[in-house]
């Protein structure tokens, strides 16, 4: 035991080894409860029959010894010491009926319970770690196959979407950008409408090209569209039995005329 305390570790260690049955290695303990549990084992009895009084005395001796050895004890060790000193006095003195609070026996019982519970958890953790463990005792599938996700898309729309879409379509006329394209196309319905009216006047064979509406003969695209539609419409009228159609040769002009009856 040096006066200077420049190297307390070495000194305390040798002192401890020499002088003490109880090895006070505070670093090795996890708090006062741990120390108490270690001390309680020296009583060599079931934890349920432990003498808390004896344990309190042992602990106080331990703290005293640590102090002698100039070991820096954390505050909670000292708090426990103070509490145990109090508990000891309670256990030794006859109960004072005027005293408030739990009796010494109750406090002692609770401490015994805490020790027993800690011991139980220690045993439980040991048993847990002794179990077969994955990757050590049993193994998972070595060649695992990933489940590939197959994406399936479902489509959805609400009634509002539908109404908005329709409203959009119906109001498009005012600003629709594709109107020009459509103007160059004649639909079959348009041609048919026109022909139905005109065929009644075709008593003679007439080139179908003469039925092209005004203004549709110039622009090649419009002309093509009008010719095709008019021809298709002519065929339709023939099918309906309202007209006859003829062509004298390949690429020759196509004529139609009204068919009566």
């Amino acid at each position: 035991m040096t006066e200077t305390g420049t190297d307390p570790e070495v000194t305390s260690l040798s002192d401890r080894l020499a002088a003490e049955a109880l090895i006070v290695d505070v670093d090795g303990y996890e708090g006062p409860l741990d120390v108490l549990l270690a001390l309680s084992r020296t009583q060599k009895v079931d934890l349920r029959q432990i003498s808390i009084l004896a344990l309190a005395q042992q602990y106080l001796a331990f703290v005293e010894k640590a102090r002698e050895l100039r070991i820096e004890l954390a505050a909670d060790y000292l708090v426990m010491a103070a509490w145990l000193a109090f508990l000891k006095s309670r256990l030794l003195l006859p109960p004072d009926p005027s005293e408030e609070g739990p009796s010494g026996e109750e406090l002692a019982a609770h401490l015994a319970f805490q020790l027993e519970r800690l011991e139980a958890m220690r045993e439980a953790s040991a048993r847990l770690m002794a179990r077969d463990q994955k990757g050590r005792d049993f193994f998972v599938r070595g060649i695992s196959e990933d489940v590939t996700a197959v994406r399936r898309t479902t489509w959805t729309a609400t009634l509002l979407d539908l109404m908005q879409a329709y409203a959009r379509v119906r109001t498009k006329d005012e600003f629709r950008p594709y109107a020009l394209d459509r103007e160059k196309l004649m639909t079959m319905e348009q041609a048919l409408d026109r022909l139905r009216h005109l065929i009644g006047f075709a008593g003679e064979w007439t080139d179908i090209l003469s039925y092209l509406p005004e203004g549709w003969g110039g622009d090649p695209q419009m002309r093509r569209s009008a010719t095709a539609s008019t021809f298709a419409a002519s065929l339709e009228l023939v099918k309906e039995g309202r007209a006859s159609i003829r062509q004298s040769g390949t690429f020759a002009p196509i004529h139609i005329r009204r068919r009566d009856g």
């Binding site: 489940v147 590939t148 399936r152 489509w155 729309a157 379509v169 594709y178 079959m188 099918k239």
Partner: protein, 225 residues
Amino acid sequence: MAEDQDRTEEPVNESLFEAPPMGEQERMVEAILFASAEPVSIREMAGRMPHGSEPAEAVANLRRRYEGRGVNVVRVGEAWAIRTAPDLGFLMKKEVVETRKLSRAAIETLAIVAYHQPVTRAEIEEIRGVSVSRGTIDQLLELEWIRLGRRKMTPGRPVTFIVTPAFLDHFGLETARDLPGLKDLRAAGLLDNRPPPGEGEPEEDDRQEEMFGAAPPEPDEAPEE
């Protein structure tokens, strides 16, 4: 165990060590093949198993045991592995359903079919002012929201499209007639107050009644997919 690896196949060992029973060896091979990340050769198995084991025989037994099961013992080059039975590969796929909004083209086309049915493709294009792609129509057919109606009695007898009961179900409509009219749309602020020239209410005539009444079976049903 590792240091014995090279000697295991020598017959001498058989007399020195009692090999485990074949059933036990089969268990061992099973565990080894299951847990290994790579196919395992007979030699490697022998290296891990107790002396005198016959992994080749154990593998052969195990292979028979797994015949017709959900996984099979298969040979991969010089080694062995446990693999999913080929016919069960589909189980390794998980379907992820993703819900997406219909494209603008699709919803507009659908709206036109709903309001104008039966309607031809040419008419849809006429109303939308743009051509309708095959894909858009196909998508709506696939969703079973539209189907083919009767052919139209006009030149070329074009097919028409009509909406389906699934469509009505999805949009919570009892009949297509329950679709809000242009007046309603206008009242809801969805339409400009000025009706475009020459555009009236969408026709809700008896054609529609036909479609949703006791409609006779259509000769040209949409292909069910």
